[in-house]
Symmetry: C2
Subunit: 206 residues, 2 copies
Amino acid sequence: MIHYSEEDIDKLNKVFRINLINSCSGYKSANLIGTKSKSGIANVAVFSSIVHLGSNPPLLGFFLRPSEIFPRNTYTNIKETGIYTINSIYKEIINDAHHTSAKYDKSISEFSMTDINEEYIDDTSPPFVENSPIKIEMKFEEEIKIKANKCKLIVGKIVNLHIEKKLLEKDGFLSLYKGKIPTISGCDGYSLPEIYDRKGYQKTKD
Amino acid sequence: MIHYSEEDIDKLNKVFRINLINSCSGYKSANLIGTKSKSGIANVAVFSSIVHLGSNPPLLGFFLRPSEIFPRNTYTNIKETGIYTINSIYKEIINDAHHTSAKYDKSISEFSMTDINEEYIDDTSPPFVENSPIKIEMKFEEEIKIKANKCKLIVGKIVNLHIEKKLLEKDGFLSLYKGKIPTISGCDGYSLPEIYDRKGYQKTKD
């Protein structure tokens, strides 16, 4: 085994440390967050930090680094409008989805710089990603600051959930592989899991 | 597409809603948290909520539901001792790792109810999981309450990182598939991603 102490990690080259620490916790979710500014410019950005927080009420969260709060647009738009969408990345748009991590100016919509198309389910909805197998409309609930590194956890409530029919199993479980949804590792590794094995609810053994 | 509004989700059968909301955000990490009580009883429990929070300082977080704070043991042990371990699940122990989600009494160590073996790297360390390809020793930093559902985010700092050599790429990225590390979807779906495609750092296009 290779061993890094706290002091070793401190001394690592910056890019090496980012890659190492970002991949050591395991696989992550792969989504695009869609927002619109008050002035009407749509924004879409890749996030690997979207997490499930609870099912009743149905809450999802994601993390923003201090550098992403200003001048990045997702946060500003959510604070201005209170609404956003979370859309599963799927195989055919992985390259374009990852490209949304490039630092475009606020005046430029990432939809215009990629082949990802925006979709509006009704007049007041924020922009969804066309053909995404799971499209979630979110309402902002709260933001929580992490003292240890000044990151923020953004908490939102699911207000509308749109799912491609073939993903939904009888008991509510979504077979993500049927939508060719990837998982992200580190900053830029994309994998497409192809099968799963469900282990069921566990009872204690004697 | 199937559509669930906020009201539809409220009215769903409990198990269906848990499965649906727990899988809609995408793939999750698959780890075992190891702790020891002040009285010396080791505990190990599966967590799919471990997330990367930042690389400088190197921070990881995980979420606990209100029901997991008491009487579940991971939280109590972390608060008592200030230290814990995060260990990647690997292919050969998936069944046993998932079984640690059964609700054993505090007096029973999950290590004794499964074929997962505990390992101590030095005299003062909390229990690691033997043969885990990524073993992380953590120091508790802070706990943050989410008002919307009373869950807690537990934030910790990496103090020692042990990695199987074959996983480490030249730039610090860890190839999780070389350690046969699974990803979790929903409450009980385990997949083994086999390849990845790295997309690199993205610059803006003209």
